[in-house]
Amino acid sequence: MNKLWIDERYCKGCLICVDVCPTKAIKASKEINDWGYILPTEHDMNSCKACGLCELMCPDFAIAIEEVNG
């Protein structure tokens, strides 16, 4: 299962990552960061194929997917 890393200091809660994810592996959470923005969180990480679209389209360099084998 791949792992999702969100940098809480950089995320501005635009949720583009949630919208572009083709397998809906991430969703908007109820958590907010220090700036008051809603953070994305893991929804169904089993379906994550590590396509990298969320990393590619993030305007704030705040998201990273760690590929875990097995």
Binding site: D7, R9, K12, G13, E55, L56, C58, P59, D60, A62
Partner: protein
Amino acid sequence: MKKHPMLKYLKEEGPLGQRMPLIMCPGCGAGQVLNYTLHAVERVMNEDKIGKENFLFISGVGCSARLTSHYLNFDSAWTIHGRTLAIATGSLLANPAFKIIVFTGDGDTGSIGGNHFIHACRRNIDVTIVCINNGVYGMTGGQVAPTTPVGAITTTTPYGNIEEAFDLCKLAETAGASFVARWTTAHPHQVIKSITKGLRKKGTAFIEILSQCPVHSKSSPVAMLRELKENTIQISKKKESGEGKTLIGEFCDLDKPEWNESYQKLIDQFDHEEGKS
């Protein structure tokens, strides 16, 4: 903790402390364009074995201008409004080996720096122009820009814009640029491919990227990205359902003499004649 793969090219900390997060508004397309450009630069660096010191980023004034010297871990210059291409020409004369990437906005290219832009294209200087077109003057408060579509409501056109929008790609193509492409922020892979092509091209490469400005459009970034995808059509599919949609794609890809090379040829010719006599 794993970090975003492109953070290694950015300055997270500076002499005055923490630089990040980016100054852009939430969901701004400028951050996405920076992300795509860094992907393209990484590809060129790895595949063509070009060192980091050969890249130079230049920007003018506007939202797009904040992308260079504030955050980039490359050589970069933050210069005067609209004169980015003039400074790029000078940099290229000083060091023809530079791979120059110019970040401009639609105001920087189309209105304030309009003349510099057409003459840079005419001379075909070896720069890659990445133009982030969000259709308004974002930094100063969302006023009407030359690229604002007809009917759009901005702070200076509260009853709708009556002026025709500027087609920057047509302008660049007519003025004589070697490579012209237009994409949107919703087409990441296409943008990366075009910027990579532009960096490898000898001559002016103009890549216009239609971008969202969620703050002045009073919309959400996700909805705006969807709109950008719906309201554009690739030139190859134009005949099917292209009415009323903005054309995107690669408009021209020509091999023409580059200005610096022609200049060097002239210098070599005179050196040769001098050597003879």
